[in-house]
Structure formats: structure tokens, C-alpha cells
Amino acid sequence: MATSTPIDFKKVAIDVVVAALMALIVFGPIVGVVLDGYSFNLQPSRVAWMVLAVMVGRGVLSVFLQTPRGAAMLHGLESGGAGVHVRQPDYKSRLRWIIPLLIVVALVFPVFASKYLLVVVIGGLIYVLLGLGLNIVVGLAGLLDLGYVAFYAIGAYGLALGYQYLGLGFWSAIPLAAIAAALAGCILGFPVLRMHGDYLAIVTLGFGEIIRLVLNNWLDFTGGPNGVPVPSPTFLGLEFGRRAKDGGVPIHEFFGFEYNANAKFIFLYAVLFLIVLLVLYVKHRLTRMPVGRAWEALREDEIACRAMGLNHVLVKLSAFTLGASTAGIAGVFFASYQGFVNPTSFTFFESALILAIVVLGGMGSTVGVVIAAFVLSTAPELLRSFADYRVLLFGMLMVLMMIWRPRGLIRVSRTGVALRKGVAP
């Protein structure tokens, strides 16, 4: 690429030296001096590598930003180009071919899948559900919910404790968990949503941690860190175990087929898949419905919305509660497929993972969230050695996405409508 202006290497050198100095101060003590009891070990080589990496990175960035393409990109970042467009009214998405294809693949999948693969995919689908729910709250309504995992926990513990104390089963737990999570969302959201938007973030952050603390500390009720066992799901009273436990009939005996150890997971997969499809459809409709439009309008300009007669508190609350109830449903599936719940599944990192899914996949579309959910939730399965760096990568992902593509959270293409002329007399 031809550069119109020569690259100013003096400036690059200064940038690199400043960056190296900063990196040395920042990384030097923490990376180079490892505490060992009251003493310490020196690890200078780690620091050297990191400083070197920062220098190279800064140098490349500095040179790149001086090329015309880099300058253009910088300009684009600063002006915050929207990149949103309205589709033609007669636009037809390619998805209308892809979706039926995916449904067919999903239908034949359990026939061939091993148990391990089933479990991984169920995990992925749970994150799809969580991602879709949080995308309503963060992506559409523009509310930052950092304690989303609390509603997930309410769903999971709702099934576990509901079974233990009230004898609830899988099927009754699904609607009840959704309602319980929605109620919790209402009680938390109503007072806070009347305030400036940013307070919601910190209150939900606290709420997520509080739910975990209560689950951990209330030994008599929740079993504390030991957790609670969760019953296997049943289908029309039929059980999926080899032998009946609660006086029911095992499904393979009832239908007279060979016992299949995967039966429970195939069943969970099937139900979960149907629910994900349902939620996808509902979300597709919501963005075209008055309430969906109102969420997006609130995200754009709250003051204008109030002047239009929208009760901003209730509109925001509806998004918040809907997101919460989706997490509640996801929690029930999580509990059933684990067969056991304890508070360690509901830490802040889990909320951060779901947020990362929304941030990465948000890209304006539901499809993005589905893909991101699968990528982020199954990546640790594929890259075991990266497990330690998982959170670090999520963090970097969030920062880079915000700098590079902050509009990823906005629906990029909007539906067009056919013009109607001659309505006015």
C-alpha cells in the first residue's frame, strides 16, 4: 500500500519507549516478584517477555496508525460511525434457508452423538438461552445487568429446593422458576430502574454476589457449599434411569426398547432445543413489537421517551424481568443436567461469561449471540490448556470489542416498511 506521508520513526520510537517504561512499572513488581509466604522469588524473564511483547505491539500499532488505512480507522473510531442501516421492505434474509437446515441437523444430532458430545451441546444451548435473555436486557434495552447469574441461580435452586421441600418436578419447575426469577427481577428492578441507568449495574453486581452469599451461608435451608441434589427429569411420569426410583416406570420398560444411558440427556436436549427455538422466535417477534421498539427507543433517548408518554420505569422493568425469567428457565435445565447444584456455579465469572457472549455476539443480531454462546461455552472444552487464561481472554475481549466495535450491541439492520402514500387527505 502506498503511503502518502512517510512514517515518522522518531514518533514510533518514542511511543515504544514510553510503552516499555509503563509496561516495566506495571508488570515489573506483580509479574517479576512472586510472593512466597513472607518471602519472594524473582522471575525476571517473565517480565522481559511481557515488556518485549508490549514494545512490539506498540511499535506495530504506532506504525499502522500512521498509514492511511490506520488513520482512517482511527478516524472511524473517534467519530463513532454508526453503521446501522434500514433494510428494504422486500428484503429476504438468507436465514430462511439456513434455519430449516439447522433444525434438521439438530434433529438427527442426538441419534449419532456420544454422551460427552450431548453434554457439551446441552451446556452450549443453556448458554444460548442465557445469552438471548441477557441480550434483551443489555442489547435491546441498554441496561447493564451484572448479576444476571443470580436469576440463573434462582432457577437452578428453585428446582433443587422445590423438589426437596415441596416435591416439585422438572415440568412444574420450568414455569415456576421463570415466575420466581421474574418476581425477583421486579422487586430488585422497580426501585433501582427509576434512578440513573448506571446504578442498575452496581446494584445487580451486588445482588448477584448476595444471592451467592446467602446460598453459601444459609446452611439449614440450602445446604451451603455442599449443595443440593436435583432429581432426574421425567416425561409424562416416565423415568430415564435403568430402574424406577420414585415409584414410576422407566421409559425403556414402558416402550419396550433397549435401556439407553443417554436417554436423560437426549430428553433434556430435546426439550431445551424446543425452548431455545421458542425463545428465538419470541425474540424475533419482540424486536418488531411495540414493547421491543420501546426498549430500543429508551436505549436511544430516555427523555424523549418520557415525552412520548412511555412509562420508562415499567418499560425497562419489562425487559429486565423478561431477561430474568429466561435465566430462571436456563437454571432449571442446568440443575437437571448436572443432577446437583452448589453455589460455586453462580459466581461473578459466570455473569461475566454471559456478558461476554452478548458483547461478542451482539453484533446486532440474534444469530451472533447463538454463535458466540456456542463458541465461548465450548471453547474451554476444546482448549483445556487455556482454562487458566479464560477469564483474562474474556476481559480482553470485552475491552477490545468496546474499542473496536462498541455498536456491536445495537441491532445493525432495521426492518423497513412499505411506503404508504395518499393516507393524508
Partner: protein, 305 residues
């Protein structure tokens, strides 16, 4: 009702509260100037705890034994390095987002918070870290219904925190830098028209906030001895509560809010239940937001239409 436990918790509360107040300053100043909750601030504090322990270990390794020099050296080292952390974080993660959507800096801050936690975990290991007791002894007062102990460490913490706050108040009130900060807080656009480099002022605010968190980190490390990579999370939420309680954007408010929250929390854990002290603080945050969102010393919020 002046029994021993009450008085003892009062002293513990003041110690804890002055730490909350120091951290709350970082939240309140950043919020005041760019209207953003800096979620990474709690983790900056956590990094400063590690830096304090590292500073102490290295300085004692080189034979520095006397308490005043040891603590002074550690303080300078921790404050300088933490301030650089504040500066770098602001430059890398927040400055490019100044004209972005409202959510972008918040999400970026969460990202930084995750990065710091995991980075420290990888670099230093997941186990709890600690420092030896530096300042032995204290005073003990006996009376009819029990006794009260004031360790020198606690006394040192309260005094150091107040000195730190006094210095900061002086800077904000009487120096040119302070005037620039206040002007930028009032009206960023106008301040930049008047020739103030507002980007630089914002960087200073992050540096000041980080320095105050570093002071808190050194003091907490001295008093409680142990910490881990997750230490910044809960204390961050509480310091934010303190900032809201005092009135976000107000410096004296942050200090007052910190003290009140510290005392209330200590009394709650002494008199009611210490398992749920975090739940109590959080409940307090929600109640303040409902009934007095502008806090104790804050100005009522008027939406600009």
C-alpha cells in the same frame, strides 16, 4: 449501652470506614468527572494490596527493619506503581471510548476488572497472601462491662487515612490542579474551551483515585494481613456504596459515607450476624438509592432536558 463490644466495634468500624472512604474517593471523583462507574477500581485496590506486600518483602529483604522507613518506602512504592496502573487503564480502556455509547465504558471497565483479577491470579497464584504484623501492641481499656482494645495498627490506619484525605482536600481546594478538576467536573466542554486539557485532567483524576486506593491497600494489608486476587470485588461494591451514601461526586461525602458504612457494618456484624454483613451493606445501598439517591452531601439530581 456503652458496653465493650459496642465500643470495640465502633473502633473497628472507624478503621474499616476510613479504608472504605479512601477507596470511595476513586469512585466518586471518576463518577463526578466522566459520569462513569469505574468497576475496575476495586481491583486496582486489590493490585495495590499485592504491591504493598511485595514492597514490604523486598524492602525487608534489603535489610530495612525500622517501621517508619519500611512503611514510608512501601507507601511510596505502592502509590507510585498503583498510580501508573490507574493511568494506563484510563489510557488503554476508557480514553478511546470517550465519544462512544453509554454502555461501552462500563463494559470496558468490567473487562479491565476481569483482566486484573485473572492477571494477578496467574502471576501470583490463587492462594491467599499475607504479611507479618509490622506494628505490635496497643492500648487496652478495662471497665465494668468489658474492655476495649486499640491496636497501634488501627490507630495508624485512622491517622494515615485522615492525613491522606486532608492532603487530597487541600489539593482539590487550593491548587491549580484542583481548580482544573473542579472546573472539568462542572462542565467539561466549557473547561476545554477555557484552555484546560480535560483529557489530562481526567488522567489526573484516575491517578489520584488509584493513589488513594493504594494508600488503602497498604493500610488494609497492615491490619488484616491476608488478601487474595478476589479481594477487590466485595470491597469495591462497598466503597461504591459509601460513595453513594455520601453523595456521589462529593469528596467529603465519600469520606463521611465510608465512615458511616464502616461503623454500621461493624456494629451489624458485632451485634447481629457477621455472616450477613455484606448482605447488610448491599441492602443499605438499595435503600439509599430508593430514599435518598443524591446521598447525604450530594446535590439533588436535575435531568438536563
Amino acid at each position: 449501652m456503652m458496653d465493650g463490644i459496642f465500643l470495640q466495634q465502633m473502633i473497628n468500624g472507624l478503621t474499616l470506614g476510613s479504608v472504605y472512604g479512601l477507596i470511595a474517593i476513586g469512585y466518586t471523583m471518576v463518577y463526578g468527572i466522566i459520569g462513569m462507574i469505574n468497576f475496575a477500581h476495586g481491583d486496582v485496590y486489590m493490585v495495590s494490596c499485592y504491591l504493598a506486600a511485595i514492597g514490604l518483602a523486598v524492602l525487608s529483604y534489603f535489610g530495612l527493619e525500622s517501621f517508619p522507613f519500611l512503611i514510608l518506602g512501601t507507601l511510596i512504592f505502592t502509590i507510585v506503581v498503583t498510580a501508573v496502573y490507574g493511568l494506563v487503564i484510563e489510557r488503554v480502556a476508557y480514553k478511546p471510548l470517550r465519544n462512544s455509547t453509554r454502555l461501552a465504558p462500563l463494559i470496558s471497565a468490567i473487562g479491565i476488572s476481569l483482566i486484573l483479577q485473572n492477571y494477578v491470579q496467574i502471576a501470583q497464584g490463587s492462594r491467599q497472601q499475607g504479611v507479618p504484623t509490622l506494628l505490635e501492641g496497643g492500648w487496652r481499656f478495662d471497665f465494668a462491662k468489658g474492655f476495649v482494645q486499640i491496636s497501634f495498627t488501627k490507630l495508624f490506619i485512622i491517622i494515615a487515612a485522615f492525613v491522606g484525605m486532608a492532603v487530597l482536600t487541600y489539593i482539590i481546594k487550593y491548587t491549580k490542579l484542583g481548580r482544573m478538576c473542579r472546573a472539568t467536573q462542572q462542565d467539561r466542554k466549557m473547561a476545554s474551551i477555557l484552555g484546560i486539557n480535560t483529557d489530562r485532567v481526567i488522567s489526573y483524576v484516575f491517578i489520584i483515585g488509584a493513589a488513594m486506593a493504594a494508600l488503602a491497600g497498604v493500610l488494609v494489608t497492615m491490619n488484616y494481613g491476608t488478601f487474595d486476587f478476589y479481594a477487590g470485588f466485595i470491597i469495591g461494591i462497598k466503597a461504591f456504596t459509601a460513595a453513594v451514601l455520601g453523595g456521589i461526586g462529593s469528596l467529603p461525602g465519600a469520606m463521611l459515607g465510608g465512615l458511616i458504612l464502616g461503623v454500621a457494618e461493624s456494629q451489624f456484624s458485632g451485634l447481629v450476624n457477621s455472616d450477613y454483613k455484606d448482605v447488610f451493606s448491599f441492602g443499605l445501598l438499595v435503600l439509599i438509592l430508593i430514599f435518598r439517591p443524591q446521598g447525604l452531601l450530594g446535590r439533588p439530581l436535575v435531568t438536563k432536558v
